[in-house]
């Protein structure tokens, strides 16, 4: 069976999520987590010696760096595609 790129899962992700969608989704998620922490009781974040703050910090670092890598990867893929077409 020939692999159709548009039906392939990677192709689907590529076509569905343009860079801007990805960015805005990320920002919405980001603000969501930030405000959620503001509205949920601070007792939760401060329980068990504020360990959830450490968890949040690790999560922010990982999510941001991974998002950056995803964006970079997409830029490179686009460049490769353009080079192939030339």
């Amino acid at each position: 069976m020939k692999l159709d790129k548009s039906s392939h899962i990677y192709g689907l992700i590529q076509s569905a999520m343009r860079l801007r969608t990805l960015l805005s989704a990320f920002i919405v998620f980001w603000l969501g987590t930030l405000s959620a922490q503001g509205y949920t009781s601070p007792d939760y974040m401060r329980s068990i010696g504020k360990i959830y703050v450490v968890a949040g910090v690790c999560l922010i670092i990982l999510v941001t760096l991974l998002t950056y890598m995803v964006i970079l990867d997409r830029k490179i893929s686009r460049l490769e595609k353009r080079q192939k077409n030339e």
């Binding site: 974040m45 690790c58 941001t64």
Partner: protein, 356 residues
């Protein structure tokens, strides 16, 4: 720049593997090493001198009951001047009651006397809560009670066996942020420094490759600086009760980031490549020089809420003990390598794009 030809898989450089291994170690060790037992809170927080006080003590990570053994408690006035508890009653692992008779006279004269609570357990080690109770002076001091204050009572204190991170009042578990939040700033400074170096090289040699190198490092440095600010804000919300409290450290790091953000804006507004590169190089070196007063001098000159502040925060005091160094130094190295790695990818991408 590494040259890879077509389909053959190129192997990853050793330092990149080292970066991965170090960061895995940091995330594992930074999370699984437990904290030393500590004291979270004490009630009541106020008492009058010359009365008996029954202190309810809430411990953290403590095993007062299950560890068994002898527990001693003191209230410390200053230095070695202490008052020993007349009775210590263990309720469970996390709670105990300590009874003190507060003498009506004090060896030194103040309006109020903040006392630190010291608890020593023969297996759990010693824990301290500064300013745990405030004593107001008695109306009729009785100088005969002066002998209750002693200077040689805290002896033979114990240390818990095994590896723990120190328990610091207020910080508690967030002392682990030393391995995640602090290396962001170290990485940012190193990346901006490398960038300034390439700017200098561009100034001397006029090679546009150096310009794209320096701008790749600025971009990733900004990313790490932003991470430093945001992780700091999350911590501040749960410690200082506000994401932004206009603390000198917050302000100065925000200014530093804005200076570099302005560099990116300025760069995009210039059309000509050579002119863009020249302007960037000059601005970039200037910006790096500005980082030194903004991040290292001004915050040391005023009071800051930030942990490690007051005096010289560099690697000092009880905020960073030898156990923490075993994780902190690898964390700094690991995140710096990661920053260099990402910058290198950005640079390589820009090169390919330019020559495509």
């Amino acid at each position: 720049m590494q040259q890879t030809d077509g389909k053959t898989s190129s192997s990853l450089a050793a330092w990149k593997w080292a970066c991965i291994a170090i960061l895995i170690y940091v995330f594992v060790a930074g999370w699984i090493v437990p904290l030393n037992p500590g004291i979270i809170q004490v009630s009541p927080s106020k008492a009058v001198a010359g009365t008996q006080v029954n202190l309810k003590v809430e411990g953290y990570n403590s095993a007062y009951k299950s560890a068994g053994g002898e527990i001693r408690a003191w209230l410390r006035l200053s230095g070695d001047t202490v008052l020993q508890a007349t009775q210590v009653e263990v309720i469970d692992d996390r709670n105990l009651n300590a009874t003190f008779y507060i003498p009506s006279v004090f060896p030194l004269r103040q309006d109020a006397y903040p006392l630190a609570l010291v608890i020593d357990h023969d297996q759990e080690g010693t824990s301290v809560l500064p300013n745990s109770i405030f004593i107001t002076p008695a109306s009729t001091p009785d100088s005969a009670e002066m002998h209750l204050w002693t200077t040689n009572k805290i002896a033979h204190v114990h240390k818990k066996a095994g590896i723990q991170f120190p328990f610091r009042n207020i910080l508690a578990e967030t002392i682990r942020n030393t391995y995640f939040h602090v290396p962001m700033w170290f990485t940012m400074i190193i990346l901006f420094g490398v960038s300034a170096w390439y700017s200098l090289r561009y100034y001397r040699q006029g090679d546009l490759t150096d310009d794209s190198r320096s701008i790749a490092y600025v971009r990733v440095g900004l990313l790490f600086g932003l991470l430093g600010i945001v992780t700091g804000m999350l911590w501040a919300k749960n410690t200082w009760n506000a994401y932004w409290s206009w603390d000198v450290k917050q302000n100065m790091s925000a200014i530093a980031l804005l200076i570099y953000a302005a560099l990116m804006v300025m760069r995009s507004s210039v059309e000509d490549d050579m002119q863009k590169a020249r302007l960037t190089a000059g601005y970039n070196m200037f910006a790096f020089v500005l980082l030194i007063p903004l991040l290292f001098i001004v915050p040391r000159m005023t009071d800051s809420l930030h942990p490690g502040n007051g005096g010289n925060p560099a690697f000092g005091g009880e905020d960073l003990d030898n156990t923490m160094r075993m994780v902190f130094y690898p964390a700094v190295i690991g995140f710096i390598l990661l920053g260099l790695w990402i910058s290198q990818l950005v640079f390589r991408f820009e090169q390919v794009k330019r020559h495509a």
